[in-house]
C-alpha cells in the first residue's frame, strides 16, 4: 500500500510546490494585465482588484496618444534587436569556439580575459564608451546601443558557447581538420549545428537584454527620433497614479514580444537537448 501511494503523493506534492512557485511569479504579470484594463483617471484601487469595472480596452490605444513617440520607439527597438541579436549569437558562438579549441596558456589567457571582462562593473564603462562613441560620431545613433553585440553583448554568452563546444568530442574537430577544413569551416559546419540549443538560449538572453536595455539609451541617445521602448516606458512611469493603467498597458505591449520569444526559444532548445541526449 505504502509503496504505491508514495510516488503519486510525491507527484501531488511536487505539483503543489510548482503551482505555488509559479503563482508567485504569475502574480506580477497578472497584476499588470488586470491593471491595464482599468479606466484611467479613477482613483487607484484599494488592494487587489480581480476585474476592473468598467473593463476598459482603450488604454492600449491611449499609450500611442499620450506618448506620440510610441510608434517610433517600437520601430527603433525592433531594429535594435533585429541587428543586435543575430550579431550577438554569431560573435559569441565564434568566440566561444575559439576558447573551446584553445589549449594551454592561450586557453588560460582567454578564460582570464572573459572572466575579468565579466567582473568589470558596467557603470565603470559609461563615460569611456561615451567618449569612444563620440569620437566615432556614433552618439545619438542606434549603432551606439547595438555596439555591444560586436563583442557578443556579454562575456557570459561567450563562455556559455565555450562550455557547449567543450562537450563536443574533440575527435570530431580533429577529423574535420584532417579532412582539410579551416577552423572557420569547422566552427560553421561542425560546432554551430551541434551547439544549436546554446544558440537559442543566447538568442533569448540577448533579446531580453537588448529589448529591455534602459541605461544605454539614456546615456547615448537623446533626440526624440531615437527613443526606444524602455525609454518610452520610463517616461510613462512618470505618470501620476491615476494614469497607471496607461503605463501598465504600455508594459503589457512591451512584455508580449519578450514572452513570445521566450516560449519559442524555450521549446526549441528543450527539444534539441532531449534529442541530442538520446543520440549519444
Amino acid at each position: 500500500m505504502k509503496r504505491t501511494s508514495s510516488p503519486s503523493l510525491r507527484r501531488v506534492a511536487r505539483a503543489v510546490v510548482t503551482a505555488a512557485i509559479c503563482s508567485a511569479f504569475l502574480a506580477l504579470p497578472l497584476f499588470m494585465l488586470v491593471g491595464s484594463l482599468r479606466l484611467p483617471g479613477l482613483p487607484p484601487p484599494n488592494g487587489w482588484e480581480w476585474l476592473p469595472d468598467p473593463l476598459h480596452w482603450g488604454n492600449f490605444e491611449l499609450v500611442g496618444q499620450v506618448l506620440p513617440e510610441w510608434s517610433t520607439a517600437v520601430r527603433n527597438s525592433v531594429l535594435i534587436v533585429a541587428v543586435a541579436v543575430p550579431v550577438t549569437v554569431l560573435v559569441a558562438s565564434g568566440a566561444g569556439f575559439v576558447i573551446a579549441t584553445a589549449r594551454g596558456t592561450k586557453l588560460r589567457f582567454l578564460i582570464a580575459v572573459s572572466v575579468v571582462a565579466l567582473l568589470i562593473p558596467a557603470s565603470a564603462l559609461w563615460v569611456p564608451r561615451f567618449s569612444v562613441f563620440r569620437w566615432l560620431g556614433l552618439t545619438d545613433t542606434l549603432a551606439a546601443v547595438m555596439a555591444p553585440a560586436l563583442y557578443g553583448t556579454s562575456p557570459f554568452y561567450v563562455l556559455l558557447f565555450a562550455l557547449t563546444y567543450w562537450r563536443i568530442p574533440t575527435t570530431l574537430f580533429d577529423a574535420a581538420r584532417v579532412e582539410g577544413a579551416s577552423p572557420l569551416r569547422t566552427w560553421w559546419q561542425v560546432a554551430v549545428p551541434m551547439g544549436r540549443p546554446a544558440a537559442f538560449a543566447v538568442a533569448m538572453l540577448a533579446f531580453t537584454f537588448h529589448w529591455s536595455n534602459l541605461v544605454d539609451p539614456i546615456l547615448y541617445l537623446s533626440s526624440p527620433d531615437r527613443i526606444t521602448l524602455p525609454l518610452a516606458l520610463s517616461r510613462l512611469q512618470a505618470f501620476e497614479p491615476t494614469n497607471f493603467p496607461v503605463l501598465l498597458a504600455g508594459a503589457v505591449i512591451v512584455t508580449v514580444p519578450a514572452t513570445v520569444v521566450f516560449l519559442l526559444a524555450q521549446r526549441a532548445f528543450l527539444t534539441r537537448t532531449i534529442s541530442g541526449g538520446t543520440r549519444t
Binding site: L42, P43, T139, A143, W188, I218, S223, S234, E240
Partner: protein, 430 residues
C-alpha cells in the same frame, strides 16, 4: 567560399544597420549646415509636462526659423542627472537643461555650467521682474548660474470631503501646530490617515524654521547641522510625535503598499504636505475635491523654497541660441505657457499675479497660498554635496519616524556624524 559568405553577412548586417541609422543623422547635420541651429534641451517630467514644453518650444521656434529645439524628456530626475554626468564627462553635453536649486551646484563646481547671469543683458532680461528668493538660490560663486523658472513652496493639500465628513472647518491661515495636530487626529481612523508627510529634510526644514530654529549654522557657508538646538528639537519631536504617538501618518508597511500621493488621490489621506508639483496630477482625478492651505505656524511663519532653473552648458556649441531659449522659456511668454500646465508657480511677478496662474476655474482655489508663501520662504544651502547630505538625512529621519527604539537623540547624533565629511568636502571645493 563559406567563410567569405559568413563574414560578408555579418558585415552587411552591421553596415545596413548603421546606414539606416545614419541617414536621419545625416539629414540633421545638413539641416544644421543649411544655417539651422539644433539646440538640445533636457529635463525630467511627466508626459503632460512634455506636452506643455512642446507648446513652449513651438512658440519659441515660431519667430526663429533658424533655431530647432530638440527636447529630451527623462522619466525621472535620477535618469536626467545620470545622463548629464555622462555626457559632460564625455564632452558632449546638451545646450540647455532644467535642474533644481538643490542639485545644480555640483555641476558648477565641476565646471559644467556657463553662468547665465552675464548673458541676460543682451537678451533683454530684467532680473528685477523676478522674485528674489529663487534668484538668490541660483546664485553661486557670486554669479547667477541658472535662470529660475518657478518659485514653489511647501503647502498643505487637504481633502474637502474628508474634512466635511469629520465635521472640520477648512484650515484657517495662521493655524497653529496644535490645531494642525488635532485636525490630523480627527481625520484619522477607519483605514484613513490624517496626514501624509515624507520622512525627509525638505519636510522637516520648514518646521525647524517655524519653531524659530536653524537647520544649518550658516546657509551661505554651512559647516554643520544645528538640529541639536531646543527649537530644532521641538520641530523634530513634533513631527516624530505625529507619526509615533498620534499615529496619524501611514506606517512604513502602509507606504510600501501605496505611496502618499496615491493615498491622497484615493481619498485615504486627509492632508498631504507637498509643493506645487502635485497640482496637475490632482486636477485630473475625477471626484477628488481638494484645496491647498498654508503650513501651520509655530513661533514663526516659514516655508521652504522649491525652484527649478534653466542652465546652460559651458561647452555648448550654440551659447547664443541657448541663452535666447532660456530667456524665452523663463520670460513672460514662456512662463505663461508653463503655468497653464499647473505645475509651476511663476518666478516672474507679472505672470504669478496674472490669470494664467491664478486661474479661478481650475483647482486649487487657494493659488494665492503659494504667492503668500513667497514672503516667508527660506531655502537650504546651495553646496555641491547637498544631494548626498539630503540622502543621508532622509535615511536617518525614516528610522526616527518608524524604527522602534530609535530615539530623536540617536537621529540628531547620526545626522551630525554622517554629514560632517560631506560639509568638509563642500568647503574644500570652494
Amino acid at each position: 567560399m563559406k567563410k567569405q559568405s559568413i563574414a560578408s553577412v555579418v558585415l552587411a548586417v552591421m553596415l545596413a544597420g548603421s546606414m539606416t541609422i545614419g541617414t536621419d543623422r545625416a539629414t540633421a547635420t545638413t539641416r544644421a549646415g543649411g544655417g539651422t541651429t539644433v539646440l538640445r534641451f533636457q529635463f525630467a517630467g511627466e508626459p503632460e509636462d512634455a506636452a506643455v514644453y512642446d507648446l513652449l518650444i513651438e512658440a519659441f521656434e515660431k519667430g526663429r526659423p533658424k533655431i530647432d529645439v530638440e527636447p529630451t524628456v527623462y522619466g525621472s530626475k535620477g535618469d536626467l542627472i545620470q545622463s548629464l554626468i555622462t555626457s559632460f564627462a564625455g564632452g558632449a553635453p546638451p545646450d540647455v537643461f532644467l535642474l533644481n536649486y538643490r542639485e545644480y551646484s555640483q555641476f558648477v563646481t565641476r565646471g559644467a555650467i556657463a553662468p547665465i547671469g552675464p548673458r541676460l543683458d543682451e537678451q533683454g532680461v530684467d532680473l528685477d521682474e523676478y522674485f528674489r528668493q529663487p534668484l538668490r538660490a541660483f546664485t553661486f560663486d557670486g554669479k547667477l548660474q541658472c535662470l529660475p523658472q518657478n518659485v514653489s513652496s511647501l503647502v498643505v493639500y487637504w481633502n474637502r470631503v474628508l474634512f466635511e465628513r469629520a465635521g472640520l472647518e477648512p484650515p484657517a491661515p495662521g493655524w497653529t501646530w496644535e490645531e494642525f495636530r488635532q485636525t490630523a487626529i480627527a481625520l484619522t481612523g477607519g483605514g484613513l490617515h490624517g496626514l501624509g508627510v515624507e520622512a525627509s529634510l525638505p519636510r522637516l526644514a520648514p518646521f525647524v524654521w517655524g519653531a524659530g530654529g536653524e537647520v544649518v549654522d550658516d546657509t551661505e557657508r554651512p559647516t554643520r547641522f544645528t538640529l541639536d538646538t531646543p527649537e530644532a528639537r521641538e520641530a523634530l519631536e513634533f513631527l516624530v510625535g505625529l507619526v509615533r504617538d498620534d499615529g496619524v501618518v501611514p506606517s512604513e508597511v502602509d507606504l510600501a503598499a501605496q505611496d502618499l500621493e496615491t493615498r491622497f488621490t484615493a481619498g485615504k489621506l486627509g492632508m498631504f504636505l507637498s509643493s506645487r508639483k502635485d497640482v496637475p496630477a490632482f486636477r485630473e482625478v475625477t471626484g477628488l475635491d481638494w484645496d491647498v492651505a498654508p503650513l501651520p505656524v509655530g513661533s514663526e511663519h516659514a516655508t521652504l523654497l522649491h525652484s527649478d532653473g534653466f542652465c546652460l552648458a559651458r561647452d555648448g556649441d550654440h551659447p547664443d541660441a541657448a541663452a535666447k531659449f532660456a530667456a524665452f522659456a523663463a520670460g513672460r511668454a514662456g512662463q505663461g505657457i508653463l503655468s497653464l500646465g499647473g505645475r509651476t508657480v511663476p518666478s516672474l511677478r507679472s505672470v504669478a499675479n496674472s490669470p494664467s496662474f491664478l486661474d479661478p476655474t481650475s483647482p486649487p482655489d487657494g493659488d494665492q497660498v503659494f504667492l503668500d508663501g513667497i514672503k516667508i520662504m527660506r531655502r537650504t544651502p546651495v553646496i555641491p554635496t547637498w544631494p548626498e547630505i539630503e540622502e543621508r538625512v532622509d535615511e536617518i529621519l525614516t528610522r526616527a519616524f518608524y524604527e522602534p527604539g530609535y530615539t530623536i537623540d540617536d537621529a540628531i547624533a547620526a545626522i551630525a556624524a554622517e554629514t560632517r565629511e560631506l560639509f568638509e568636502e563642500a568647503a574644500a571645493e570652494r
